[in-house]
Symmetry: D2
Subunit: 341 residues, 4 copies
């Protein structure tokens, strides 16, 4: 089988900062296409040393750039776009993280408004060793350095929202967006319900790694070289973004307060499990109650994100049949691509 492989390497002017709004697509692909793309970090690459405070060097209207939109041919409202992540590789030998004024979970913010001055703005620069698969944490004020394993992921992936809405790329929601879950790593297939013709897929906000919740507000932020396979599932909707790996199904929910994000994600996983197995809804509720995981996505963005996660092994054999096995098929496409490269 011959693979269709295309490259997407935006110029700085081509980055976008919203989902939706019907711009001219950067790329049009047929379902099944492999896309080799590059993404810039959430600071637009402007924070390069500990002296580059984001509040000084960044233009606030140009935070969290995404690469896209990619128009998926044939995608119509009511369909689902599947995006399989074949590879997510840091593009540079450094990455950065920072505190950011009035942003993060342990600080007053514009929503959790308080009379405190902002926490101090601090930049950390990580050395990225792609061969050894590590990034090096250097505390700014002494104490041990720590080598952390690379675990690259994308914080932001999504499609154009429904209803003509346009959301900043920092906002996660039913369209995807800035979910900031470490589960979105290579090997995962993400599913998004299509709201507009062509779906208008965009990807950005690469992280060398991220803790669950992204508590300080930023991860180990890095430009990425990423390879995805984009596919289309006709006639099947997806109410909230879902993820699939070889071993797990995952539903996401993004809203506030955090318990409502939890509710959305668990509700979706329960109804999804019931649909796949034929269980009654209350039986699926019971099984998920005993076998489900609930790792935190983010507790810092304009909406918070929770993930509901269930091992396919606990679906009584129904785990292999998700969307007619699209994950397995895309995984093979990815393997073929890597073998040929």
């Amino acid at each position: 089988m011959s693979l269709e492989v295309v490259a997407l390497d935006p110029t700085p002017e081509q980055y976008r900062y919203v989902f939706g709004g019907a711009p001219e697509p950067l790329l049009r692909v047929r379902p099944g296409t492999v896309v080799e793309l590059t993404t810039e970090d959430c600071f637009g690459g402007r924070v390069t040393s500990t002296g580059d405070l984001p509040s000084r060097v960044c233009d606030f209207s140009q935070l969290n750039p995404v690469t896209g939109p990619i128009h998926v041919e044939g995608a119509e409202p009511g369909d689902t776009v599947a995006v399989h992540f074949v590879e997510i590789a840091p593009a540079r030998d450094w990455a950065v993280s920072t505190t950011f004024p009035h942003f993060g979970a342990l600080t007053a913010t514009h929503s959790t408004a308080m009379l405190h001055d902002p926490l101090e703005e601090v930049v950390w620069v990580y050395e990225v060793d792609r061969e050894r698969g590590t990034c090096l944490f250097r505390p700014r004020r002494g104490g041990p350095e720590v080598e952390l394993p690379l675990d690259p992921m994308h914080g932001t992936v999504g499609v154009a929202p429904a209803g003509g809405e346009v959301f900043a790329t920092i906002t996660p929601g039913a369209h995807g967006g800035n979910m900031d879950t470490p589960e979105l790593r290579a090997g995962a297939t993400a599913y998004f319900g299509v709201n507009v013709p062509g779906a208008q897929l965009s990807i950005g906000d690469g992280h060398c790694r991220q803790g669950e919740g992204e508590v300080c507000g930023t991860a180990v932020e890095a430009a990425m070289r990423t390879v995805v396979v984009v596919d289309l599932i006709k006639g099947a909707g997806t109410p909230w973004p879902r993820l699939e790996t070889d071993d797990f199904l995952m539903s996401t929910g993004s809203t506030r307060p955090l318990e409502d994000a939890y509710r959305i994600s668990q509700h979706d996983l329960v109804t999804w499990a019931a649909e796949l197995t034929g269980w009654d809804t209350l039986d699926a509720y019971q099984l998920v109650s005993q076998a489900g995981l609930a790792p935190t996505g983010n507790v810092v963005d304009t909406n918070y994100t929770m993930v509901a996660k269930l091992a396919k092994a606990y679906l009584g054999g129904a785990g292999g049949s998700v969307a007619d096995g699209v994950h397995d098929r895309l995984r093979r496409t990815g393997a073929d691509y890597l073998a040929q490269r």
Copy 2:
């Protein structure tokens, strides 16, 4: 070294339903004592078949019984009690789970008050196979049965609250209580700040296993035969319950909304990590942001519980020094006990 081993097997009348209130202790132990204890399930053992609806067979003032309190000799306010779980073994070859009127995360409750009728009350009975280490999920209305691995834990562990307060055993808080986190399994050491002389430790609510969040409101509920080692750390407080395993440090937070439970747990983990390593607080904030995990405890009880979790490997060698190595010491005590039994 000679082990001090005592047994605690309460009669039905001895179970308690609150933390605090200064009752006569069921047991007094010296620090370092191994306690073999039994706990009843959260229904007081009254739900034994699918026909036993909890709203009919249970006395609402006698839900979630705990075994205790255990008076730890020498424990004073400002100290910390350490409880190492050597073994948590289901006492019977069955366990139960149920929906419960107006209780759970995907239903109207007394706090999230709505005009809906309650969801249907349903009981699931699990076959527990202790040899194979499994419990069998049988859907009530068809579809595949699923064998789930046993992963026994206690939902409820804690001490008397501060300030003379008395909390129902269903409530988690700074005193511990009904945190309902699957992380409280054999191999873990739990730390609780002492609020009253003797600490007044109680344990209950055994689960054969539980999903993160306990979404339907109940786990695979079981009576347990549990072995703990109880120890005392003089002169060191613990603001919120903490857990330690061979590989991880964990902080908990229990309140509402869920983001505040997340904030408490992350705040405690950040300050704990800073203290152990000598990092500045913002450096610890950064490290936890990239390396921390945030599994959900419960999103159904009167307070919600989040866990903040960090691999000791990421503490630059400081992970071994927690509370002068009490976890390792208690682990050895537990191993000695198991070897001698």
Copy 3:
């Protein structure tokens, strides 16, 4: 002084369902212009009897129509638009309210996701007696009828959002939108920070009256004939929508959870009061703590809205100087208009 008075009476095709997105304005006005405008009810006028269930007769993409946008000449980002409500008059002798599937504060919703079926969908038709100033509540299933005073207001008023975002008209936020506060009645001046050239003001969602919180999700919904004076305050921003009446200053906050909406509104009122009086921030915090009111806006929309309200009498004489007395000036313009009509 000659008044500039213009009329804006949209055709059904001209209604819009989002804020933002840079459409061609329906109207361009100079600051100081009186605008006589009509608005349709939140159902687009399609619910006219108890048999017209909204889920059947409404097109979900055409809920909550707004009249506009109105381009305010000279308005630039960093300015503030002032909209004084001279008159809000029900256009018909009937109005409607309904429950709506999965919408409202005492029902499971798409965000507070649960396994309940929706509450029953019911329509109430109110007789509106404009002469007597009443609307008549007729219970659907017996019990006393109640005559309620008319207290007309607009649920939805706002400008184009910042950052190129586009929000459904059902969403309240820093741009205004669907705040659903009964305080937005005739006699009030609303202030909105300008985010795009011309501000792009839109108005809709008239209510004959509304309880605080709009607990069932809809008010006494009515088409309106409304008269506003639109003005511009150059060089002065407004972080969140504010209201002014003869006697009160009000700040709003719209987000989730509700305590964060409260925080935003109180934070804005505290800083606003400090600025007007010269008090230190903590002194303003103290005064607002003792003299402020906090009526609920809505607890049903995609964001919840709280209002922070302070009598001008408690500002030590500084209450008259808000934005150089624009409220008093617009009030006189409104009075002149009514006298001449």
Copy 4:
């Protein structure tokens, strides 16, 4: 009719700091008794000048003292205690308010845990002019002074909790407690469901006045001379504290997040209105949606409090029949008492 009037003037040692726990009552009264009582301020009277920072002069285990418990003879679980406030009079010619480290709505707290240092601790002393009915706000750092009308109230009123629980007096809940609503002023009758024999009523935390939400965490705190009439309604429960005045019915809800406190209060008001009028629940939901008020109680305590408020005039004549007219009866008793004094 002869009035039974008793006085209750506790010594400093007699103040209590919790609800519940079955202490010996300070007083036993028959239903219908007038009680003249004194309460100390929330600081135990220890903050008397701007130099008395509460964190220095107060003992944290002795904050928010209450006067009581009062044993109401004949009160049994399932009954309701009615407490009519005849008079609430400041006992001194001064009162105080303060910020307090990590307490308040616009500051990091122990629950909304953050890495900020506490806001500055500041004390304001108010001159209380009982003749003119005012208290004087003096900003600490310049700007206009403001004379505020006295509007005395009690922040804390309640009974022993159910289930053997004991709550700090700072906690509001289904038992009442620290609801901190300005609606609890003279002229109001408060209803509490009885959980233990004698009900065990306690009262404290007088405020010369308080803004809605009590945003900085403290009101104009004052010792009070208060007169109440205590009565008993046999065989009628009250799920959450309710208030009645000549013109309004009010339900309260106290929990977190704030929307759940709103839900509880509105749910209770809807079901109460349905019960009084014979309306179907959805009809009552509709009426409350259009005619209900929702003033904020507190957004600073361990639980947040919302009030749901409905004019009796909108109950179609059913407003007079609440609990067989107990409010009117107690109001007359209060008037008789004042006439005779």
